[in-house]
Subunit: 349 residues, 2 copies
């Protein structure tokens, strides 16, 4: 047995670390309704809910300034947090933004970053209410916290899914990952030959999925109009398989996904073929799509299938059945959690 004192973080892994750090947390205020373990924390003041989520983005881990434009980075830093509020079926209202700035960044670079922050605030009707600025000895550091609210009865947790519920997803998957693959490939070629002109034509969609993703701000409203409340929900940041596992763990269920139902954009499939990557791997493990993954009671199937941009991709099963991916020929593969670059990026408490 490894001595606890000498165990390294990489041995422990992302979920092991989070479990270790949070296992003894006891919430003492009745208003702290939900703490660690969902997309956002929930604070309840006499039925008025405040949702809180936060993300830390570090240069060299989450972004590479050699090919990520500062304005897009600002925009994305906000969007990834709003996505967590939407994943609670809530409405984001405010953000705080803290930055640590290395001396290599110019004032105009920081201004571009804030243009992106403010553009996202405009697009999503968000107030920028505070933050912190600091010098940084190393890379550019970004910490965004988003606050939102939700009707008490409308909040959706990861934990409400039941056997027989349908698994649904918005939009398409794997695009952000393939966009990243393209950027990294072209950046590598450019680095080894400064005369090389990066070839990005024809992949506008997946580049945008990676560089300037959008959060699903309309799903909650559409579902409410159909009188549908998801039984569970999460946003896809780590990848479909990993995020579905989070729901299954919280809900105590198994899951069965139908591979041919998983929505993949034509550009994602095209680049995956060129790069000899399975589009299914991109969709399952790619991450950063910021689509919403949710489950519904079977009785809500017709209402949900009428919604544009929502696809039913599987169903919840008994926990003992594990997590299966059913291929077109009806054979099944056992899935394991494998978030994109999980060993490096880790995750939310």
């Amino acid at each position: 047995m490894t001595d606890k004192k000498t165990r390294t973080l990489s041995e422990l892994g992302e979920f092991g670390l989070i479990r270790k750090l949070t296992e003894d947390i006891v919430l003492r205020h009745p208003g702290s309704r939900k703490g660690v373990g969902d997309d956002a924390a929930v604070i309840d003041h006499k039925g008025f809910l405040t949702l809180v989520t936060t993300d830390l983005l570090l240069e060299g881990i989450h972004f590479d300034l050699t090919y990520v434009p500062m304005k897009h980075l600002g925009y994305k830093s906000v969007v990834v947090n709003l996505s967590d509020i939407y994943a609670m079926n809530g409405t984001p209202l405010q953000i705080t933004v803290s930055i640590g700035v290395s001396s290599k960044l110019s004032l105009s670079a920081i201004e571009e970053f804030y243009k992106g922050i403010k553009l996202a605030c405009n697009q999503y009707d968000i107030d920028l209410i505070g933050g912190d600025t600091s010098a940084s000895n190393h890379g550019f550091t970004i910490s965004v916290t988003a606050l939102g609210t939700a009707q008490s009865k409308q909040v959706v947790y990861r934990s409400g899914a039941k056997k027989g519920d349908l698994i649904c997803v918005t939009g398409d998957l794997g695009g952000a990952f393939m966009g990243l693959m393209l950027l990294e490939q072209e950046n590598k070629k450019f680095n080894s030959d400064p005369a090389y002109k990066p070839q990005l034509e024809g992949f506008q969609y997946i580049l945008e999925r990676q560089l300037k993703p959008e959060a699903c701000k309309n799903l909650g409203r559409k579902l409410l109009a159909q009188k549908v409340k998801p039984t569970s929900m999460i946003d896809i940041s780590d990848g479909l398989s990993s995020d579905l596992l989070h729901i299954c763990e919280a809900s105590g269920t198994g899951s069965r996904l139908f591979a041919d139902r998983i929505p993949v954009h034509a550009e994602t499939a095209k680049l995956a073929a060129q790069m000899r990557i399975s589009p299914m791997v991109a969709a399952l493990s790619g991450g950063e799509d910021y689509e919403l993954l949710f489950t519904i009671s079977p009785g809500d199937a017709a209402a949900v299938q009428s919604l544009e941009g929502v696809t039913v991709i599987g169903l919840m099963t008994d926990q003992e059945e594990g997590h299966l991916l059913e291929l077109q020929d009806k054979t099944t593969i056992l899935m394991e959690a494998q978030g994109w670059n999980a060993a490096q990026k880790w995750g939310k408490l």
Copy 2:
């Protein structure tokens, strides 16, 4: 005139940068009552206020792991945020904690850090409700956000001070700075001679002020019991002179401080004498004391002077009179904003 595009961040300075980034922010939600520009933002939901503040702490800028124990660092990371909530006359209730962890840190080091986080939560009755964990390519990165609440009528901003108001401060000043000077001096000696044994005896108080500061959790309650509401308040993080200037700018006043009234602890004075630093400089520009600086109407003077640990140190004047420090011989010095290490550390939006 310098071309805007090529101006560097250091030319612009802390306050210039913050002003530039925040000057065009418009709050769109009526609930966003106070945004950038105070110790915490204020969100108002039908009279129920949520206070929000956040701090980014970066290795090599805000702390040096060669002499800062991880447990103390965790404790301090929480306390500096709670201090901002107390500075709004509020009660902190929840925090989120995000960390970026470099590979040189062991699991036990991270556990020590969280022990400090949880100890602070116990001491101040705070729930740890969320956060984010990430690998870091560089130093240890900490981002803490604190949430709190206050009675709508009890919130105190920086902007309410008036000419004639008395300037008050809790505790004593300059200790945290002198503690840091001692740690840096002894660390330097140790680095140049590994056989050297750091001499820290006799300075327990100022070391604790630097390494494990406390926030003023009882002032609000004591003032309420005396039916006193400060006209303005701020916590001393940058240093007395700089933080008083924040109040004066927000309130549109000048100020006059009486040097011999400024409370300085015996250990602060002793080390300052040894190191040939003016204790007044430590108190005025040292920062990180996390005491509360506040102003009261003259009619509340007797009530406030009866409180243990509160000292009246000056009075608010007309804006045109500027910011004066009156010495014992009645001569005055014009003060300018000079936060501790301001060029490196910068400040809150």
